[in-house]
Amino acid sequence: MIPELGHFALWLALGIAAVMGTLPMLGAHRNRGDWMALARPSARALFALVGFAFLCLAASFVGNDFSVLYVASNSNSTLPLHYRITAVWGGHEGSILLWLLMLTFWSFAVASFSKHLPEKVTARILAVMGWLAFGFLLFVLATSNPFDRLFPVPSEGRDLNPLLQDPGMVIHPPMLYMGYVGLSVAFAFAVAALIGGNLDAQWARWTRPWTTAAWIFLTLGIALGSGWAYYELGWGGWWFWDPVENASFMPWLVATALIHSLAVTEKRNSFKNWTVLLAIVAFSLSLLGTFLVRSGVLSSVHAFATDPRRGLFILAFLVIVIGSSLALYAWRAPSVGLGARFALLSRETLLLGNNVLLVVACGAVLLGTLYPLALDAMNLGKISVGPPYFETVFVPLLTPLVFLMGVGPLSRWKHAELPDLASRLKWAAGATVAATLLAAWLKGGIGIVGAVGLAMAFWIVASLVTDLFERLRPAGGVRTGVLHRARQIPRAVLGMMLAHFGIAVFIFGVTMVRTGEVERDVRMAIGDTTEIGETVFTFRGVREVAGPNYRALRGRVEVTENGKPVTTLYPEKRIYPATQTTLTEASIEPGFTRDLYVSLGEPANGGAWIVRVYVKPFIDWIWGGCLLMALGGLVAATDRRYRAKVRATSTASITAGASPA
């Protein structure tokens, strides 16, 4: 009964989405207030219905209802309760339902937090989101119904993929989807503005917090996925340039460009065409990612669908959404206008540089991801593009980007002077060179790439300090305390600084890992030791232990640093009987300056094992940096001016000279 209720709720939701997609849009066109007023209640009803369907599916999982095909394929009665709940999005149907839930949640959020927007704008935005929800609901109902029944009813389910039985997997998909789908808000704002023809600084101000919010989730989602890969896949890497990862990274790159371009549009009423295009492209890449990951085109842990109808449906949806939005863009964009002019050297130009670099980086990832697929689809042979390509491309693209990151925030809008910038940044440049030389001398053997990486991290920090110093320095004869001046810094600026600092931390982490990590695969008999620098790993053998739904061989590895015992690591080799799969569970001792990582390979003769022993310096800084970026986004998105009521005229251009991006 519960699954049928859920299924019925989805059909009702389809009807409501159709209403939400049409009447408010027509109402905005014909000035009919009663039609436009339908948008908000529809968005709320849609969220309630899809939420209800989602709860129905969750209830079937909790109650071990194996008469539901999806539950039988992705759960098992021995699966612990918390993983039975997260198994809801452990397969194709449920994860699409989660996607849908996120989409309706965002529409609900827009409906609730758009009181300050004109009625017409809200109606159009929600209508666009209604169409997206309609498309995905149709997809669920036509090809991926999670409530399909199974007859005869099996006595036991097939269990959740053991790789997904992990706390990281509990939050990674919802976070990532929040980000993916959150970009639909920026998309809807862009399409609504193109239809309504009201693309201005005000529009950018409305769009910014939503885009930043989506970007925060996307950042966290990607970081969580990377962290999961690091400790769960058992070979200690944190990014593999796997097509699935690229699928999430591309929207991130474009969304980052969009955040910066929106700043120009808000402050200077410039870059309007470009901003709208970025908003469309960012969401299109999210859809492309969904298509790549869910259609079975790519084979990986994420590819559940083997039904070609699903791939075709998403592809058709993709073509319709991207095609029609680009057509709308081509039709309406020429009337948008170019906006305020700016000098050759100005913050606008520097942000344009940022955008070009980010988009080129995204293009490079797109090429490396799609080219092998295209070649394969046309039967022209099988090739693969590995990490060396992406690394070769990213270092030269990232270097100028990071350089601009230091200069941009210090330069003026509209017109900047080179001598002025140079004199303000000379201390930062000097400090960067000195710190890099010092680090290279202290550590030794970091190579050119390592030195460039460290210099980038130091440059960001040094220019941030310069920026902060200039803001806190008493100016213009006004005697106020440092604290007072610190409070004067708008949250948007603090957020930017925090996010840029996060990038510095991230780059520092990546550089240290790349130049200093030690990976050893060794055969160890009981009592054998392996030394990496001053760290000594002693293998103490393996014994059998039982988990709730698996058996495991648990190794014991004692670790000492400089002769003092630090920790004992317990790497496991697990066997899940329900799926007959083996899983390597690495054991990690995390630390501020290094991670110790041990995982079990295979048994060798005589009680010995092949053991993988890693020391990864500063690797946690990679995720720490991502966390700081997300935190910066949060601070920026809660800036007071986004919550302010609409003023009759935009004051953006008046305050532009003083206030930053």
Binding site: N161, L163, L352, G353, V356, A364, G368, T582, R612
Partner: protein, 148 residues
């Protein structure tokens, strides 16, 4: 400079930057493509000697030998086979009689693998491995037809 010239300069700058970036990207792309070869193609000397490529096929039953951390095994596409050597830990789902993809270089008739690719699902056959078997089957059929 007049505003028009400034705009031109910005546009030219963007074009140059994008052009340089595109050249960089395409060059890196060209030199980092990894091609795929089946054991039959390697036997027919189609695979390059000093370049990294991917090999796909099945691990032949009973051929996996371990010596310390070194693993030797034979990859077959049912028509031809090729010995593979790998130093390190094989992925969890590596099994004799199952599909495998290895990336590495050919040296004196032995494929020295730098990487044996992990699969996420045991029912799933790596597309490269499936392709190798398919090609070999086609080859066998052709062979049978010519012999008729």
């Amino acid at each position: 400079m007049k505003p028009r010239h400034k705009r031109l300069a910005v546009a030219a700058g963007v074009v140059v930057a994008v052009g340089a970036a595109a050249a960089l990207v395409l060059n890196a792309f060209q030199s980092n493509l990894v091609f795929f070869y089946s054991p039959s193609q390697i036997a027919a000397h189609e695979a390059p000697e000093a370049r990294t490529f991917r090999l796909g096929g099945m691990v032949r039953q009973g051929t996996l030998k371990r010596d310390g951390i070194r693993a030797d095994f034979i990859v077959t596409d049912t028509a031809k086979e090729i010995p593979v050597r790998f130093e390190g830990i094989l992925p969890d789902l590596f099994k004799e009689g199952k599909g495998v993809v290895a990336q590495g270089q050919l040296k004196d008739g032995v494929f020295i693998a730098h990487e044996v690719l992990a699969k996420h699902d045991e029912n799933y056959m790596p597309p490269e491995a499936a392709e190798a078997l398919k090609r070999a089957q086609k080859g066998n059929q052709k062979l049978a037809e010519t012999q008729k």
